[in-house]
């Protein structure tokens, strides 16, 4: 046996080197030794941070609730918050995260929960919370998870190329090309706003309503790799020609029921729940909501949320504040410099007032 152990150690050596690389380049600072994650708005980073130092107020939702500057939030609201929202979060995942947060912090007393017509669409039953729950609590599960290893290798590759890594800043530095179509004619709105609306058609309209979105890669002024749409006019024309008959949107009743349950749980446990309907750009209203007739389900959602008894902060259906095109990075996301600070003050400051 004494001869076997050195051989096993020799066999394990490359894997130990690999795990050392993993430790150095994993983008979520899972082990909390790097003084900050390069992907600070990822679910892993946020849940790990919450489990180690939970605040009594939490923010949940998808990327629209994920990008707040937490110092600005604390300044506007006068208290500290844990942000558990993350990009691409499904409603199921946000709901499960709420319960995870509540279980791990009995003194939880406030929750801002981001909801929208898009996250409440039928057919979106994604739920990765079982895997996420395992990964955040078990370092071995984290280190042996395919996605996080792929993220680590991606991070390593980008760092070797000298490209900026981490969360996208959602801060636009637009050029002349962003305001013209494929033939050089002026567009009514920026290219990326058209492309963003077109992207949402994939989940809200019947297949074939729009032509495929064509893109080309480019590096923005921050050094991040991005893609630019190359057929905005074709997409715009198709969107304007769309009708409610092209819509495939329907409301996810099951998730609405889960939200009602969540509201009842909050009422029972003294947690002040606020549903937040984050702002959407006018381009989305014009090119997605209006042609497909989504106003009606949006109003239904607004009413259903209000009926739960929880507070509703509406920036989507009957917005309490509106933001200009230049304040948006894309159709769903406010620019972190030109729009998000104002929304932060409106959302968190107004509540205190």
């Amino acid at each position: 046996m004494k001869k076997i152990l050195p051989r096993l150690a020799l066999l394990a050596a490359p894997f130990l080197v690999y795990f050392a690389l993993f430790f150095a380049f994993e983008p979520y600072d899972y082990f909390g030794v790097k003084g900050g994650a390069s992907s600070e708005d990822s679910v892993i980073t946020r849940v790990r941070a919450y489990l180690s130092a939970p605040e009594d107020a939490i923010i949940l939702g998808d990327s629209r609730m994920a990008h707040f500057d937490m110092n600005a939030v604390a300044e506007a609201s006068g208290r500290s918050w844990s942000n558990l929202a993350f990009g691409g979060a499904s409603l199921n995942e946000s709901i499960d995260l709420f319960y995870l947060a509540a279980e791990n912090n009995p003194s939880l007393n406030a929750c801002y929960f981001g909801v929208s017509f898009y996250t409440l669409r039928a057919g979106d039953s994604r739920n990765r919370m079982e895997a996420i729950g395992t990964v955040v609590k078990n370092p071995v599960a984290y280190m042996l998870n395919f996605d996080y290893n792929a993220d680590m290798l991606g991070e390593l590759l980008l760092r070797l190329q000298g490209v900026q890594t981490g969360a996208t800043r959602d801060a636009g530095a637009w050029e002349a090309i962003d305001s013209v179509d494929e033939d050089g004619n002026a567009l009514p709105v920026r290219r990326n706003l058209i492309a963003y609306a077109a992207t949402l058609y994939q989940n809200c309209a019947k297949p074939g309503t729009l032509p495929a979105i064509e893109t080309e890669p480019y590096i923005d002024v921050w050094g991040a790799a991005r893609e630019r749409c190359t057929n905005p006019r074709a997409l715009l024309d198709a969107m304007l020609a769309a009708t409610p008959a092209d819509s495939s949107y329907s409301l996810n009743r099951e998730n609405l029921r889960r939200l009602e349950e969540l509201a009842a749980y909050c009422a029972e446990n003294g947690i002040e729940l606020t549903f937040v309907l984050p702002p959407i750009d006018d381009a989305l209203r014009q090119y997605l909501v209006a042609p497909l007739g989504l106003d009606e389900p949006m109003r239904t959602i607004r009413q259903a949320l209000a009926d739960t008894g929880a507070a509703v902060r509406d920036f989507e259906v009957e917005p309490e504040a509106v933001y200009a095109e230049e304040q948006y990075y894309d159709g769903f996301h406010l620019d972190v410099e030109r729009g998000l600070p104002e929304f932060t003050r409106a959302l968190f400051g107004a509540k205190e007032a």
Partner: protein, 509 residues
Amino acid sequence: MTFNSVSFFAFFPLAVLVCRLAPRRWQNAALLAVSYAFYCFNTPAWLPVLVLDSLATWALVRRMDAAEGLSRKRRLWAALGVNLGLLVLLKGASLLLHGAAVNAGLWQALSRLGLASEADGSAFSIILPLGVSFFTVQSVGYAVDVYRKKYAAEPSACNFALFVSFFPLISSGPIMRGDKLLPQLRAPRALHTDRAAHALVTFALGLFSKVAVADLLAVFANAVYGDVTAYTGLTLTFGALCYGLQLYFDFSGYSLMALGTAELLGLQLMTNFDTPYFSRSIREFWGRWHISFSSWLKDYVYIPLGGNRKGKARKYLNLLLTFLVSGVWHGVGLTYLIWGAMHGVYQIAGDATDRLRGRVYTALHVSRTGRLACAWQCLCTFALVNAAWVFFRAASVHDALYVLTAQFRNVSLTGLLADIRAIAASFNAKSLLSAAFLAFVLLALAGGVLLDCARRFKAPGGDLSARVLGLPLVFRWLLYYALAAFIFAGFLMNNGYFATAANFLYNNF
């Protein structure tokens, strides 16, 4: 806990340590305790049943061995009744109660005891004791052997309990015979470096088959069999082929890991697979696939039924009955019964047309044992076996018939490639990663097939581990690193078995 789970990699070194540190006279007791601990990690609530079954069989067979005549026979039937009764009772209850609208309170009580689980939504199903199909038939074999005076009954209850519950073989075999394992349990055991190296290589080869090949082929097999009517043409053939390969690499991988695990504990188990997909006939296939169970069926079902001693018609009937028993043992359902019947019919047809086929070869002036003829025979056997696997895997007879017929409709290579790409995309939405996944599966499969070819043609006695250990140093270490890299990558692709622990297929039977 399965051999491919992370928890097993923590459990097993501890088990080896406990067994090595135990004094000689307590070695078997320590191994029995470790085996029961392994059992408790899987289906703890059923441990008393395993213990009681072992003790009852041990006591009945001991008393049978001391008796003669009618009394001996009665005790044999009692031992068979205990084991087969347990098997039939539990499998029957599992089938009848699956999803049944039994009192919710009863289901919840059973769930709390770990005897039932929520299956689909609100439907419940019985959790069967780990390895019930294996330890009961192993006990039956032991009782019959002692009755036939092949060897004497085991005097030590501890040794017999270990024979029944030895953790490397309890979940999926191999089904050991008393005269092969019990003498090893009575003898002193020591582990030498060369045996340890052999055991580790055997375990690693098995782990590679399971983690890097079988579980990734499962992505394709599950996608196709999960919704068969969504596909037609070559995709169905591809899905069926993936399952045939998945099952082989899964079960042979398990068997190799069992062999390696037992060897590290100083015990030798029988080989359960000997490159079955290189068989030239269905008869040869059953001499190479799940060998321990095939030989069990031959010794305890086929021969007692009369074997080939009572004329051709009776021989064929016996063959059919034996394979029907095999089908029922794998699962109580029409699909398993048809699968068993198909193999029975294959064997009967093979035997009945043997002379005719010989004449065809002679007329064509082709040697029946020539390379081309052998390749053709292997191909035909492989196709027949895979056609039968369709019933083994499909959710219903309707689905199986659909796969077998619709594969000839809308045959298109581009359609197949598009379906493969779509299934790979379900593994990972990023196109680069799904392409990497596809490339990895192809490479791993090629590696698995290559190792099987080496086992068949280059390893005397099918002992590939010995062949690997005999390679020049550089090649050997290159192979070690390649195996370790594939296992590691396979592990990652299965998310380290944390989120979606992939059980061994034969654990279900």
